[in-house]
């Protein structure tokens, strides 16, 4: 069963109801969400998208596209994958939605034969750069899943090609379009949490992070489980952490100045090359630290970004804001007094005592950042993408968010590999 998400229109209406319209104004890229209908309803105005890489993520993008494709006058003109089962599954999704895209096994055919307005690249990480740069050369806009590329040089080359071609490059950091984050970031930037001292972020799972191979045939191992091999991926860093570094940078409105890290293969010693246990510290110029860890042999703490200021804390993934001022715990004696008064009892108030309190964790249970959180941030990002394509440009800040997150993710990998605290080399600064 398809999950029902709020559309862009519902999202805007809810923002108006909850009084969070200021959020729109505070996030320049949300101009794409301006409350105007999609323009260009004619066949010639249809935005043509191609999905390159139809694995799990590519197919998820496809499903979300179809939740608003009709209203937005968008179609999927082609699909591309060199793994036939994935391509067939993606084609089936299109057929269920009444769309018959062309199919290719080489992305260069997408560029030369289909010539879409934009591509959604959801291939393995190491293939992002080549496809992206070739698309830009052909004048095609690109939505590229995070992280941007496998190497620092490829990441820079993608950014340079985006600038040189004047084509849109949106990186798949969907939290940039997530209403919880938008509202929370607004509060952080307005100073509601006070001075941010530390960001703690983590992503914990308890599984081997493997995908099943067709007929358990090992010849597909590196193609299907590319995330486990350093040639294709930096593992937990590029596939998970990059999202959270982007969130940390966004919250602090700056990029780090250095990173140090350590990692190991602690539990899943099954021939994989990437670490299953990582810990990094990112330092920012103002002294703030982002302390990051990820592991895949315990899931008790799950996934979170904790933005910690001297006045409060925001935990984005669980949609909660906490105050350092504990307003939830009532002194028992005071509660007794209130109860006595309401019951017309006049009795002594046994509350006196030394009130020194140890520095224990604040007991505040927190409040939701926004009430209605039934939406898909990826769908909202894709809707925005379509509007960017019609307009012919996207806010550069969006691209820079993705670029800096990708660069600092890979620098984190280098820091782990070298055992050194690393700064960003001059040539990667944009």
């Amino acid at each position: 069963m398809n999950k029902i998400y709020q559309s862009r229109r519902d999202f805007l209406r809810n923002l108006a109801i909850t009084g969070s319209v200021a959020t729109l104004a505070a996030s320049p890229w949300l101009g794409a969400f301006s409350n105007t209908p999609f323009k260009g309803k004619g066949p010639n105005d249809k935005v043509r998208l191609s999905v390159i890489g139809t694995g799990i993520r590519g197919r998820q993008l496809l499903r979300l596209l179809f939740t608003f494709a009709s209203e937005a006058n968008v179609t999927v003109s082609s699909l591309c994958d060199n793994f036939a089962p994935h391509l067939e599954e993606a084609l089936e999704i299109c057929h269920l939605n009444g769309v018959k895209p062309k199919t290719y096994t080489d992305y260069r055919d997408v560029i030369e034969k289909d010539k879409p307005d934009a591509v959604l690249i959801a291939t393995p990480l190491h293939e992002h750069a080549r496809a992206t740069i070739d698309c830009f050369s052909a004048g095609i806009h690109v939505f590229c899943e995070k992280s941007m590329a496998r190497t620092l040089d490829d990441t820079r080359a993608m950014y340079d090609a985006h600038i040189a071609s004047n084509r849109i490059l949106v990186v798949g950091h969907q939290r940039l379009f997530n209403p919880v984050y938008l509202e929370g970031m607004q509060r952080i930037h307005n100073g509601e949490l006070g001075t941010i001292g530390q960001i703690r972020a983590y992503w914990h799972r308890n599984n081997d992070w493997r995908r099943p191979l067709p007929n358990n045939d090992m010849k597909f191992e590196r193609q299907i489980n590319w995330r486990l091999y350093k040639e294709y991926s930096a593992g937990l860093l590029t596939e998970l952490m990059s999202h959270q570094i982007q969130v940390a940078n966004w919250a602090l409105q700056q990029s780090p100045v250095s990173v140090m890290g350590t990692a190991s293969i602690r539990f899943w010693r099954d021939g994989r090359e990437v670490h299953d246990n990582v810990a990094l510290i990112y330092s920012y110029a103002d002294g703030t630290k982002c302390i990051y860890d990820s592991m895949i042999s315990n899931k008790k703490y799950g996934l979170e970004e904790q933005i910690m200021g001297h006045l409060g804390t925001i935990e984005f993934e669980t949609n909660r804001q906490y105050s350092e001022k504990d307003e939830s715990i009532k002194a028992p004696g005071i509660q007794q007094m209130i109860s006595d008064i309401e019951n017309k009892v006049f009795d002594k108030l046994p509350i006196g005592g030394a009130s020194w309190v140890p520095e224990i964790a604040v007991g505040d249970q927190g409040k939701k950042i926004i009430e209605n959180d039934q939406f898909s941030d990826t769908a909202l990002q894709l809707e925005a993408l379509v509007n960017f394509i019609r307009k012919g440009s996207a806010p550069e800040k969006l691209t820079k968010e993705g670029y800096n997150a990708s660069i600092w993710t890979l620098l984190g990998e280098n820091a782990i590999d070298t055992g050194q605290e690393l700064k960003m080399p001059e040539k990667y600064i944009i």
């Binding site: 006070g194 001075t195 001297h310 105050s323 350092e324 001022k325 504990d326 307003e327 715990i329 009532k330 002194a331 004696g333 005071i334 007094m337 209130i338 006595d340 008064i341 309401e342 019951n343 017309k344 009892v345 006049f346 009795d347 002594k348 108030l349 046994p350 509350i351 006196g352 005592g353 030394a354 009130s355 020194w356 309190v357 140890p358 520095e359 604040v362």
Partner: protein
């Protein structure tokens, strides 16, 4: 009086590493929320001036820099420091805000702090410039022994301004300010908590009460009261309760009587105008 006629108002906020409970009742209900908001804002402001733990506070910056150079301070901080100077004299040096570093060391378990004590008032105050300079690098100002009283004094002014007639304001049960009376009696009846509740009931109208004890709610941290003249923590289990008309007087006195030896109590008390003092030992 019917319960529905009481118009009871209760809010809590965190302040001074404690909980501030604000209980109001009476006919001025339209003023309750506004009074609370004003109290809340003033509390935040006072903490930003007087907290020694908050790196953004004025006191924190003063503590960082006032040994190196003379620092001009705000009216609030200037007034607080000058009052502390008066209390230093009136308590025969048993109340000394400048010994924050010593208090901290004792709390951390450093029993060998006697040699670090600097006797005499360690602050150079310039009343023309309203500036402060520390006489030695060991000085660390700590308003822990009077900060809640200052806050309560400020709250009393707010309640007066908003014409709140009946109130019970409590800082975690250790510093209390009352106005008027309990809805069902002619005073607010106050007692100690736990096993000490049967010791006495204090009758409060327009009063302040301060409770200081060598015992805390954390047995590992028993040694948190220090004799500033000897640098030794107070080992005995003592609770001091001071009822006064002024909350700062009450708080300073309850702390000082805990820190000072018994033979100094009469001298210290002679410098204060207070209602009742009770000292409980080994309870």
């Amino acid at each position: 009086m019917k319960s529905s006629d009481i118009n009871l108002f209760h809010r809590s906020i965190g302040a001074m590493n404690s909980q501030l409970d604000i209980v109001l009742w009476g006919s001025q209900t339209s003023n309750f929320e506004a009074a609370f908001q004003t109290i809340s804002e003033q509390t935040t402001h006072y903490e930003m001036v007087l907290s020694r733990y908050n790196s953004q506070s004025e006191l924190y910056r003063l503590n960082q820099n006032a040994y190196k150079q003379s620092i001009e301070v705000s009216n609030l901080l200037w007034t607080a420091i000058n009052r502390a100077a008066t209390y230093y004299e009136n308590t025969v040096e048993y109340f000394d805000i400048a010994q924050g570093r010593l208090y901290h060391k004792i709390k951390q378990g450093d029993e060998d702090s006697e040699d670090k004590i600097k006797h005499g008032w360690q602050l150079e105050l310039n009343s023309t410039e309203k500036s402060v300079r520390f006489a030695n690098p060991h000085v660390l100002l700590d308003f822990g022994g009077m900060g809640k009283g200052i806050l309560l004094e400020g709250i009393d002014n707010i309640l007066e301004k908003f014409q709140i007639q009946n109130s019970f304001i409590s800082f975690g049960g250790s510093s209390v300010l009352t106005r008027g009376k309990h809805p069902h009696g002619s005073f607010w009846p106050f007692s100690l908590s736990g096993k000490q509740s049967s010791l006495k009931t204090w009758e409060l109208n327009k009063h302040s009460i301060s409770v200081s004890s060598t015992r805390t709610n954390n047995s590992r941290k028993n040694k948190h009261i220090v004799n500033p003249l000897t640098g030794k923590s107070i080992e005995e289990e003592i609770t001091v309760v001071v009822k006064a008309s002024n909350p700062v007087d009450a708080e300073v006195l309850s702390t000082s009587l805990l820190a000072a030896p018994k033979n100094m109590h009469r001298i210290i008390l002679s410098n204060f105008d207070i209602n009742e003092v009770d000292i409980f030992e080994n309870q």
